[in-house]
Every structure is written in structure tokens, then in C-alpha cells.
């Protein structure tokens, strides 16, 4: 019925879904043991019990699911924040959340909290650190019950600097084996032995997607400016707070499991905006899909480029993402 539904932009949702399926199948197939596509499909249906089946379902599939959850989650957090701040340079990490998470993990490793909480120890400390810093940033940016966005951005950037200084302080004073643990975590990885944790993160990430979609129309109004949104009947103060908590919570959960994987939350929303335009209803869905595709692809490359060494996935996202981004921006006819 509606004319706007037929615009080509909605088609991107279909293309990216197909791309996601293809990339996931590709990622299942390649690696130390190569499993051709036909065999992957055969194994998916009747391969239970074989060694290849074990590789697929206990090694590769969990990574793909986590890539989907983290890539998609970081991308929508980026879309929401960039739309709300009307600033294309904002990403989940600009606001201090990654610094806070890394600080939490570094403290945990040094203090040796792992003994007490087991497998959930690092994710929990990362989550606590990230959300803790976000809470401080939030409280400092609120004046007379109004959330000042420019203030939030500056305080977030400063919080990032302070936490990274504290992490360096901890690293300077720590033992070598702890140092290794901290650096490994900061580089980020999709290797997560605890499958239950992966399901939790996937549920949170998909929940975040639904929640963001619920506010997509309001976010369209907010991307015109706070005053314009107010005049369109949007409850601006409440919306800003909800969106801030939504993006911090989703980022905090992603970071707590995967460590710090940069660029996804910055670049994916940006490229998708050039591709599908400013309507957040389309932008949120397509960014989620594209974030998942991008991270799964980067993780697969990280596994297969120099076997048996696995490169840090953050290196690949940075190189590939940064490169693609610069190419997109310097192409003729692209204006921001």
C-alpha cells in the first residue's frame, strides 16, 4: 500500500540477510579442517557424532553465533548513538564504555577474582566496569534532570582517557603472566568456551535490536534535532535516557564477552547510512545484519590467514573496516 515501502532501500534488508547466510556457511566451511559446502549442509542434517560435526557445532558455530550477536549489537549501539548525537564520529566506545570494561577486567585479572566466579568472572567484571563508567558519565552529564548531549560526549571521551591511563598504570605494576591476560582480553576475540554465555549474549543482542526498532520512528525525529523532535510530540528527555541505557547495556554485554573489538560500531552504521539513507527503521535492521556479516567475516579471516596462528580479530576489523571506509569516503560523489 504505502509508496514508501516499495523504495529500493528496504530491499537491502533482503540482500544483507542472504549475505549473512552465505558468510555463515562460508565460515562454517573454512579453517584448519576444510569442510566443503555440500558436506556442511549434509552434516547439518545427518552428521551427528562424526568428528567434522563436532568441529562445526562446538567450535565454529558458537563463534558464528557470537559474531552475529556482538557484530549486530555493536552496530545498532552505534546507529542509535550516532542518530541521537547527530554526530557520525560517536560510537559505543567513544563514551567510555570500552575503557571501563577493560579496566574492570584488568583489575579482576590482577586481583585474581577468577578463582571465585569461574567462567563468568571476566565477563562480569568487564560488564561491571563498562556499565559503572557509563553510570558515572551519565550522572555527570545530567543537569536539572536534562541530559546534555554535548556534555555527555566530552565527558565520555575524557572518561576513556582516564580509564586507559589507569589500565596502563595497572599494566606497569603487574606480573608478566597477568599482563598477557590483560593484553589478550583488550585485543578482543570471539573464542568463548562457555556456550551458555553465547546464548545469553545473543538473546540480549536480539532483544536490543527489537527495542531499538521500537524507538526507530522516534529516533528519526530526534535525528532532526531535539527541538524538532519535541515539536513532533516526542518525549525527548525520556527518549534520550532510554536510548543511552539501551546502547550502553548492549555494548556492555557484547564487550564483556568478546573483549574490545573496535570499528564495528563506528563504521558499519556510517557505511549503511550512505547506502540506505537516514530512516532508522531501515538503518537499524540493515546495520545489525551488516555488523554481523562484517564481524563473522573478519573473524573467519583471522582464523584462516596464518594458520595455525589466530590473528586478533580487532586487527582485521581495524584494517579491513578502516580501508573500506576510507575507500567509500573518497569515492566520487559521496558527501557527508
Amino acid at each position: 500500500m504505502a509508496a514508501y515501502r516499495q523504495t529500493a532501500r528496504w530491499g537491502w534488508i533482503g540482500y544483507l540477510t542472504m549475505l549473512l547466510v552465505l558468510v555463515a556457511l562460508f565460515s562454517l566451511g573454512v579453517g584448519g579442517v576444510h569442510i566443503p559446502l555440500k558436506k556442511v549442509i549434509f552434516l547439518l542434517t545427518h552428521g551427528r557424532g562424526t568428528p567434522d560435526y563436532t568441529i562445526l557445532f562446538t567450535v565454529r558455530l558458537p563463534r558464528i553465533l557470537l559474531g552475529l550477536a556482538v557484530g549486530g549489537g555493536l552496530a545498532i549501539a552505534g546507529v542509535v548513538l550516532q542518530g541521537m548525537f547527530r554526530n557520525p564520529l560517536v560510537e559505543p566506545y567513544t563514551l567510555g564504555i570500552s575503557g571501563g570494561a577493560a579496566l574492570g577486567v584488568a583489575l579482576n585479572i590482577v586481583v585474581g577474582g577468577r578463582a571465585g566466579l569461574g567462567l563468568f568472572s571476566l565477563p562480569l567484571s568487564g560488564f561491571a566496569g563498562g556499565v559503572g563508567v557509563m553510570a558515572v558519565v551519565y550522572l555527570l552529564s545530567t543537569r536539572v534532570a536534562m541530559l546534555k548531549l554535548s556534555r555527555l560526549l566530552l565527558i565520555g571521551v575524557m572518561a576513556s582517557f582516564i580509564t586507559s591511563s589507569l589500565i596502563m598504570l595497572i599494566m606497569a605494576m603487574t606480573r608478566t603472566e597477568d599482563l598477557h591476560g590483560i593484553i589478550f582480553w583488550i585485543m578482543g576475540s570471539l573464542q568463548e568456551p562457555n556456550i551458555a554465555l553465547i546464548w545469553v549474549i545473543l538473546a540480549i543482542s536480539l532483544g536490543g535490536l527489537l527495542c531499538a526498532l521500537f524507538y526507530a520512528a522516534d529516533l528519526n525525529a530526534l535525528s532532526l534535532g531535539e527541538e524538532e523532535a519535541f515539536h513532533l510530540g516526542v518525549k525527548v528527555e525520556r527518549l534520550k535516557k532510554v536510548l543511552f541505557f539501551l546502547s550502553s547495556f548492549v555494548t556492555g554485554c557484547c564487550v564483556s564477552v568478546s573483549g574490545i573489538i573496535g570499528f564495528v560500531g563506528l563504521i558499519v552504521p556510517h557505511l549503511l547510512r550512505l547506502l540506505v539513507g537516514g530512516d532508522h527503521r531501515i538503518l537499524i535492521i540493515t546495520s545489525y545484519l551488516a555488523g554481523a556479516v562484517f564481524l563473522i567475516l573478519c573473524d573467519t579471516l583471522a582464523r584462516v590467514i596464518m594458520p595455525p596462528t589466530e590473528l586478533p580479530v580487532g586487527v582485521i576489523t581495524g584494517l579491513l573496516g578502516g580501508g573500506v571506509f576510507i575507500y567509500a569516503l573518497t569515492r566520487k560523489g559521496v558527501s557527508l
Binding site: A2, Y4, E227, E228, H231, L232, R273, G277, R281
Partner: protein, 262 residues
């Protein structure tokens, strides 16, 4: 009467910009708010729209206290065209205009309804921007963008339209195009229009009634020939002027005498 403003004071933080402003606006009026820079024109518009809270006084909209009307309901009855409409290069014109239907959206409604699309189409036709609808906002000229902003406001189907300097930075051709459009909306669609204007000749020629603000207070209200008098303008703008009567309904034109600061 559509709007009654009783003795309001408002401002930013501790700084009061408006003090004790009262104003009654009748249904179907075409009212201009004029005054020097910093006299509180935009602040008055924001106080009326509710964007700035009142420190004192109150405003009734269609007989009800404005604080009793929800944000959403108010947005269905009152639309505002602000000066900051250049921030959204990545919306197409039709996407931008249909955002005016937001106040009518159901809580769980994801897509626009057929009616939303029809209203947006009609708003684009009315403002003469139908041919631009597939273009991106970032590609438009200032004048086109202003027409698109008005179209979005009309898509809200308001009874009261507030505009903040709708002709600022536009050439004389586009100024006239916007003013003619607003007068047509006012006459044919009985839309009440209240706008801030900087340009005194334009205000004199187009508005039925003017409110002159000075230092946050109402200095004079009335027909253009009653407000734009030599004594009042020289006192408020602190320059020396000559007044010329035009053949158009005797509307006055202000001619500043250069080099003579009062």
C-alpha cells in the same frame, strides 16, 4: 480564540528573556512577531510551543491550559518550523515530509498508514514540491528546504502553525513564494499562522497584525500602520527612519536613514 497568553515570563536558566508578555491570538489570524535582535521573538515562539517552560503566567490553547494537553495531542494541533532544518542530508524529501505524521503514529505501529502517505503527498502538492520528492535533503537549495519544512509542518494537519523567520537567508523570489504559500494556507485552509519576522517591509506587507517586542516586553500590538510608526521604530531600533506609505492598503514601509543613530 485559539491561543491566550497571560502575563508569561520565560528564559534560559536564570536569564529571563521574556517578562510579563500577554497576547490573544484569534482563530484564522496571520500574525507577525517583530523586534530587534535579542528582544525575545524566538523565545516567545518557544514559550508558546512549550519547548521552553514558563517561569510565570500561563497559556491556554483552544480554551484548555496548555499543561493539560499531552505532547502528542499538541503536536497534532500545532506545528513549528524552526530555523534549524538543515541537519538531515540523508533523508529523501518524501521521507522527511512523512515524519510530520509521527504524532499520529500508534505505539506499536512500524510503517506509515495509507492515510499518512496521502496526507504527506497532499502537503507536498500544496507546497509545490511534488517534483522534488525523490531528491535527498542535502541536495536542496535553501529555498527548497524551507518549502519542504513547511510541507512537513502541514503534514501534521495543525490548526496553528508557528514559524521562526521562514524567509531568513532567502532571495526575494523565494521570500515571496513562502509568504504567498502561507497566506494561501491561512485563507483557504483556515490555518492560524504566527511567525517571527526580521524583515520589516515583508512583515508590513504580509501580516494583518504585528506584535513588536522590545527587551522582552510587548512594545506595541496592532495593524502594521499602527505599529510601524516613526516614533516607535526610532525608539525600539535606535535609528532614524522615514516612513513611506505604499499604495497597498496604505501599508507603511520603513526607510532607514543611514548614518543617523538616534
Amino acid at each position: 480564540m485559539i491561543l491566550e497568553i497571560k502575563d508569561i515570563s520565560s528564559g534560559y536558566g536564570r536569564r529571563m528573556v521574556l517578562t510579563g508578555v500577554s497576547l490573544r491570538i484569534e482563530r484564522g489570524e496571520f500574525l507577525g512577531i517583530i523586534g530587534p535582535n535579542g528582544s525575545g521573538k524566538t523565545t516567545l515562539l518557544r514559550a508558546i510551543s512549550g519547548f521552553l517552560p514558563l517561569v510565570k503566567g500561563h497559556i491556554t490553547f483552544e480554551g484548555r491550559g496548555r499543561e493539560q494537553i499531552t505532547r502528542r495531542e499538541l503536536a497534532q494541533k500545532m506545528a513549528v518550523v524552526t530555523q534549524s532544518s538543515d541537519q538531515t542530508p540523508l533523508f529523501s524529501v518524501e521521507e522527511f515530509v512523512v515524519l510530520g505524521r509521527l504524532p499520529y503514529r500508534g505505539n506499536l505501529q512500524f510503517m506509515e498508514t495509507t492515510r499518512d502517505v496521502e496526507v504527506a503527498e497532499r502537503a507536498m502538492e500544496l507546497t509545490g514540491i511534488g517534483h522534488l520528492k525523490k531528491r535527498m535533503m542535502g541536495e536542496l537549495s535553501g529555498g527548497e528546504r524551507q518549502l519542504v519544512s513547511v510541507a512537513r509542518a502541514i503534514a501534521q494537519e495543525p490548526r496553528l502553525l508557528l514559524l521562526d523567520e521562514p524567509t531568513a537567508h532567502l532571495d526575494i523570489g523565494h521570500q515571496v513564494q513562502i509568504m504567498d504559500l502561507l497566506r494561501q494556507l491561512n485563507r483557504e485552509h483556515s490555518l492560524t499562522i504566527v511567525m517571527v519576522l526580521h524583515d520589516l517591509p515583508l512583515a508590513s506587507l504580509s501580516c494583518e497584525r504585528l506584535v513588536l517586542l522590545n527587551q522582552g516586553r510587548v512594545r506595541k500590538i496592532g495593524r502594521p500602520e499602527a505599529v510601524l510608526t516613526r516614533g516607535v521604530i526610532e525608539e525600539v531600533y535606535k535609528i532614524s527612519v522615514n516612513i513611506m506609505k505604499t499604495s497597498l492598503k496604505g501599508r507603511p514601509l520603513i526607510l532607514p536613514a543611514l548614518g543617523k543613530v538616534v
